[in-house]
Subunit: 226 residues, 2 copies
């Protein structure tokens, strides 16, 4: 066991306090002075503890406004160590392979578990992607959100944190979209959304498989052409 | 875009240097003095850059020995934000669900892609698990390693980083093993290993599915009994 510093111990205490008080994303934490009293620690120790929780994306400090629970749910930046993988093409292939394995069963789960609110949110994102496609604008970020929201619909909290890492990875490392993709994306997203809304798990899984296989094949073709 | 501090910029430069020089896990970095010269930065900035790369598990500092490339491949501690998930039981169920989705196709990939060295390493871990089971000792850590090595056999680098996070999560949050599990683990691990060694992707996938479904059902039974 590694020895914990006072700052690390205080960070653990602060994390427990966050759980006990039931804070969620966006909630404001007590002031630094109040935290000193609540945690029985000095100002420097509390600051060190806050720095640790900031680096873990558990809290975020907004200058002048205070300390808040981060919207990132404690998922650090670059959680899967992409920055240490030098071969961007292999990384993209590996990510696409994981998507094909993981996202179809997630779509099935989403069809089974999504509630009204989840589906409404998914539809809003769907419409935004469609709007961007109509205008032939870059829709990649909204596309990532669409897949992330399907993961949220699954009600598996680990998936909700994992899928955005994978889809954002593909978005960052893969090359840009082509004209042919617009039509395919429109149709596939619609089919996936409809199946989830109608609680048809099998259709949702199939539609997601088709969508991702298409993307994977397109990437393989691109690599061959170069 | 957020503004980068000098320390963060220097951390990026240092990361590029690590890639350019082809450093891998365990390699020693130049001294702090040398890094100041190589990166054209002052001592405090280099220290800040090193602190950032340490917190991302890209490098590790061993007191008195120097700075080394971390064995953790740039995967931070708690990459999927488990510390923010309060309900340990739901977390365990979610993790087991992901294992059932992800590890069978990984086992198939492992059977297809593993080389001699991968298989030898897998066999060594298999034998250690068996030895611990014979002595009725806690084999959970070695068991995690067995599954992590199968992910390494897949030659999908993202999987290699992801699977240990999931299996270690289950190990930490799930309850202890029961007597009945020993026999099942011995047989399942053997079957998985044999299929991978013989390059039988379908059998590997089936054996992994059976193994994980057994675990998932056992956990569900446990929850019902309580």
């Amino acid at each position: 066991m590694e020895k914990q510093t006072l700052g690390e111990k205080t960070a653990e205490k602060l994390l427990n306090m966050i759980h006990e008080r039931g804070y969620t994303a966006g909630d404001k934490l007590p002031t630094e002075m109040e935290l000193c009293q609540l945690l029985g620690a000095g100002r420097n120790t509390v600051r060190e503890a806050l720095r640790i929780l900031v680096s873990r994306n558990i809290v975020t400090i907004r200058q002048g406004a205070g300390t808040f629970i981060s919207e990132k749910n404690g998922v650090p930046d670059d959680p899967l160590g992409f920055s240490m993988m030098e071969d961007r093409r292999k990384l993209t292939r590996d990510l696409l392979q994981i998507r094909v394995m993981l996202e179809p069963p997630i779509a099935a789960l989403a069809a089974q578990n999504a509630d009204e609110e989840d589906i409404q949110k998914l539809e809003e994102i769907l419409l935004k992607v469609e709007e961007l496609i109509e205008r032939r604008e870059d829709y990649s970020q909204k596309d990532s959100q669409f897949h992330a929201q399907i993961a949220a619909c699954s009600h598996n909290t680990v998936m909700s944190n994992l899928v955005p890492v994978i889809t954002e990875g593909v978005r960052i490392f893969a090359s840009t979209v082509r004209e042919t993709e617009y039509v395919q994306t429109l149709a596939s997203h619609r089919a996936i959304f409809r199946a989830i809304k109608e609680k048809k798990a099998v259709e949702a899984q199939e539609a997601m498989t088709y969508h991702l296989m298409y993307n994977q094949n397109r990437y393989r073709d691109e690599e061959k052409e170069e």
